[in-house]
């Protein structure tokens, strides 16, 4: 069976707005004067800086090492000098600051020695995986999960499908589209390397039918190769990993599970190319394709951008018209977030910078009451009841929200997109999730302090008991010692009359003194006996 895409009822059709950025081929963005490299650009533990301030680095050199299993190293995207290792704002909805390595570039763009994996075709999967890990490859589709970790889990499971996700369903974004159209061969080479690692029964590249150039290029390149090109209808959010898997394989990733559990590994096409570049060229992940688009930009298109490039410099390069700018978004208009500043770097997960002009995107209108029309439920790709979740989130009935599978919401925004009452539904769900997570943390904290308190109580009781036991022990020992000293049990009766006589003497003396005292001062201190 060749065509395995399934009909699906959910999803929405927002205006695509992709043509603005597909006219020109991918261009090289200039090397910026300054690079800002967060040590965490992936899901997992942050990398640890291994350079010092003032140190000169060359392009491709490791500047931060992975720490822990789920982590990824960071490499210098260009040559220059490390000027600081400090907290710097990173692209995050909250404007969070994290540890970043700042590099002042020298303009030479001088490479360190590149180390392709020699004889990669005959190398063991372990060596291949280590090489990919060492090159810092992380999922370029959006989540930034370390690729080697994902592939490792795939290599251990019985994988039937290797999916390369080129769906790119977000409006405006065309980075994967152009990449597939221009580097189809590289996508398939990457697919071949990945297939060696996870040994799938079938390897598929999944594309939406609105990317004819990419489909043509891939089909031509795939001729004869063991890769199938699957074209699915254009609908948002079919590019979500779980959704792509469902459309193509008919399987659902179990709640709380990973795709490998159902025999599927899904990677972004950009990630496949990054794997290929790492293995064949020895190029670590130091750049990515970014779509720069939106009506506030004089120049729109796709750019190969060095990681760490400040977004402000990119915008200048694309002739941003400041007076027209409405909002600046990282990611697409459906799931992207507005940037709190321009002094933020492009990171491994930055697929698009959208600088919209006034009137281009939705201005949040006044929120009207929910009329429970159910359009949101029809649109929901996770088969949730957004109208009920909204109700429970609003009323802070979090338990019921969880019963309605709040945490299966992928925050794609399809529900809010169709809502006739202009309700910012996703925001309500984020709020509810946050509250539940917070309450859970509080609960865990309370549980821990209770455990701590109880174990302290137990410890104190134990220590007291031990002390008591020792005391008793000492008393017994003293007694035994005294007895030993006095020559043992048989000696005691011989001494007894003398002791008894002495005791009797003392008692009589005391009694006599007491009588005298009582006659003098009454009973005041007569209790001395």
């Amino acid at each position: 069976m060749n065509m395995i895409a399934r009909a699906f009822g959910w999803g929405v059709h927002p205006p695509e707005n992709k043509s603005q950025s597909t006219a020109a081929p991918i261009q090289q963005a200039p090397v910026p004067s300054r690079l800002i490299l967060p040590v965490q650009q992936h899901i997992g533990a942050p990398a640890e800086a291994v350079v010092e301030v003032g140190q000169r680095v060359r392009k491709g050199e490791v500047i931060a090492e992975a720490s822990g299993f789920v982590s990824a190293p960071v490499h210098a995207p260009s040559s220059g000098t490390v000027t600081a290792i400090c907290e710097h704002a990173v692209p995050h909805p909250s404007g969070l600051a994290e540890t970043c390595i700042l590099i002042e570039t020298d303009g030479l763009d001088e490479w360190a020695e590149r180390k392709p994996l020699a004889d990669h075709a005959t190398q063991s999967p372990v060596a291949l995986l280590e090489h990919i890990r060492g090159c810092g490859v992380a999922g370029l589709g959006g989540a930034g999960f370390p690729t080697a970790v994902k592939l490792g889990s795939g290599a251990r499971s019985n994988i039937e499908f290797l999916l390369l996700n080129g769906v790119e369903c977000e409006p405006y974004i065309t980075a994967d589209d152009r990449l597939m159209a221009e580097r189809a061969r590289a996508v398939l080479d990457g697919a071949g390397l990945l297939a060696r690692l996870v040994r799938p029964k079938r390897t598929l590249v999944v594309i939406e039918d609105n990317k004819p150039d990419a489909i043509r290029a891939l089909r031509a390149a795939a001729d004869g190769a063991n890769v199938e090109i699957v074209v699915i209808p254009t609908k948002y959010p079919s590019g979500g990993e779980k959704q792509t898997i469902q459309i193509v394989t008919g399987r659902e990733v179990p709640h709380g599970g990973i795709p490998a559990d159902i025999g599927v590994i899904c990677l972004n096409v950009g990630t496949a190319v990054a794997v290929r570049d790492a293995v064949i060229d020895g190029t670590p992940l130091i750049s990515r394709i970014v779509t720069l688009t939106g009506n506030a930009l004089g120049r729109r298109g796709n750019f190969e951008v060095l990681l760490g490039t400040p977004i402000g410099e990119l915008l200048r390069h694309c002739a941003l018209e400041d007076d027209r700018l409405d909002r600046l978004i990282m990611g697409g208009p459906m799931m992207g977030f507005t940037l709190p500043s321009r002094d933020l770097p492009v990171v491994k997960t930055t697929n698009c910078i959208l600088a919209s002009a006034v009137g281009e995107l939705r201005t949040p209108g006044p929120e009207q009451p929910c009329i429970r029309c159910g359009l949101c439920a029809d649109a929901c790709p996770a088969r949730l009841l957004p109208q009920q979740l909204y109700w429970y989130a609003r009323a802070s009935e979090f338990e019921r929200a969880e019963k309605h599978h709040l945490f299966d919401c992928i925050e794609c925004g399809a529900c809010a997109y169709v809502c006739p009452s202009n309700i910012p539904l996703v925001q309500y769900y984020r709020y509810a999730k946050g509250e539940i997570r917070h309450a859970e943390q509080e609960r865990i904290k309370a549980e821990r302090s209770r455990e701590r308190f109880e174990s302290r109580k137990e410890r104190l009781a134990r220590e007291e008991a031990e002390k008591e036991a020792r005391r008793k022990e000492r008393r017994e020992a003293a007694k035994r010692k005294a007895q030993e000293k006095s020559g043992g049990d048989d000696a005691a009766p011989a001494l007894a009359p003398e002791i008894a006589a002495a005791v009797e003497r003392v008692r009589q003396k005391k009694a006599a003194r007491q009588r005298d005292d009582e006659s003098d001062t009454g009973n005041a201190d007569g209790s001395g006996s």
Binding site: P254, R327, R362, P369, R372, C373, H404, H405
Partner: protein
């Protein structure tokens, strides 16, 4: 950077506003309204306008009393739609105060006292209707005689207006001259004593269908199909309701045609189609999941058939819908759809 806006995703919206939904539903009642006007005279037009007027008035007063700005609440057009739906249900020549009382209960009590649009447990128009039916049985059961029935005379525009506002025409005639038992009244009154042939020989019937009502129901069905086509409502509740009525009527009719009316009469007389597409589909008071709406429709269909057949009212859309409104929260509780990844079958992909 100060000029850039910060808002939460998604940054796109299909939008339209709740009022667009309301107005499109209202537009879908047009064929039915026209059919009613054609067969039962211009009275319904006055009822609809009166109900919409009182609906908006009472909504504004209630929202003001609740200390909220009235304009946003009025702009969603939900009071207009409720008024339209009640106006379509009221006998065409009923006195004007009937619509005032009806809308007071529909908007004031069933809607605003429960918290306004989206928070009402019961269908507002049907609450208004039931209050009227129980409180003013005479006014609420005098339906105009349908055009084309032997012995029926139609009130003209001026007469109808005077009947509605003053209770008598200029010539001093009362409403009685223009009214007649409806087809469902005839069925209810005679089904135990007459055979099917004798029943269908009444002037209210023609070729086994209820004169006038058949066309009115067809017109509402057309409006309903428009709603489904525009995806303004889901098919689940109406299809389940009509299917249930059809199946029950068919089974009972096949078993004893003299005692039980045919599916054709059940489906195409009274308020069946109007109820199926414009009342049972009210999203606010209906069950919310697709499966829940199926059960809701089945429940309405069963209750409608039971009340029509064994109850003391000839038609039963309002009672059936209100009773199922009560059951909707329970249905919601037990019809949560299986979310993605929950208890998924590990079916083979190829």
């Amino acid at each position: 950077m100060s000029n850039a806006v910060h808002v939460s995703s998604p940054h796109l919206a299909a939008g339209g506003g709740a009022q667009r939904v309301m107005l499109q539903v209202a537009a879908a009642t047009l064929p039915g309204l026209l059919a009613l006007l054609w067969f039962f005279g211009p009275g319904t037009l006055f009822q609809v306008l009166l109900c919409m007027f009182f609906g908006v008035l009472i909504e504004a007063l209630c929202v003001l009393a609740r200390g909220r700005p009235p304009l946003p609440a009025l702009r969603d057009c939900s009071a207009l739609l409720s008024g339209l739906l009640l106006g379509l249900s009221i006998p065409p020549l009923a006195p004007w105060w009937i619509s005032a009382v009806g809308m007071l209960f529909a908007i004031g009590i069933a809607k605003q006292l429960y918290g306004g649009l989206g928070a009402n447990l019961f269908n507002p128009a049907m609450v208004g209707y039931v209050v009227l039916l129980i409180s003013f049985p005479v006014e609420m059961t005098q339906w105009s005689a349908p055009a084309g029935v032997a012995g029926a005379s139609q009130a003209g525009f001026a007469d109808a207006m005077q009947l509605v506002f003053t209770g008598a025409t200029a010539a001093g005639d009362g409403i009685d001259g223009y009214t007649m038992a409806t087809a469902l009244d005839v069925v209810r009154a005679n089904r135990l004593t007459l055979t099917e042939q004798e029943l269908l020989a009444f002037p209210q019937f023609d070729d086994g269908i209820a004169t006038g009502w058949f066309t009115v129901n067809l017109a509402f069905l057309a409006g309903g199909i428009f709603l489904l086509w525009r995806r303004l409502t889901s098919w689940h509740a109406p299809v389940a309701m009509l299917g249930t009525i059809a199946v029950l009527a068919f089974l009972f009719h096949a078993n004893d045609p003299d005692r039980f009316a045919s599916p054709l009469i059940h489906l195409f007389s009274g308020a069946t189609m109007f109820g199926a597409f414009f009342i049972a589909t009210d999203p606010v008071s209906c069950a919310t999941s697709a499966r829940g709406r199926l059960y809701f429709g089945i429940g309405v269909g069963c209750l409608l058939f039971v009340i029509r057949t064994w109850g003391s009212y000839p038609d039963a859309v309002a009672f059936a819908v209100l009773l199922m409104n009560l059951a909707a929260p329970l249905l919601d509780q037990y019809t949560i759809p299986r979310a993605y990844g929950h208890g998924a079958k590990r079916s083979s992909g190829s």
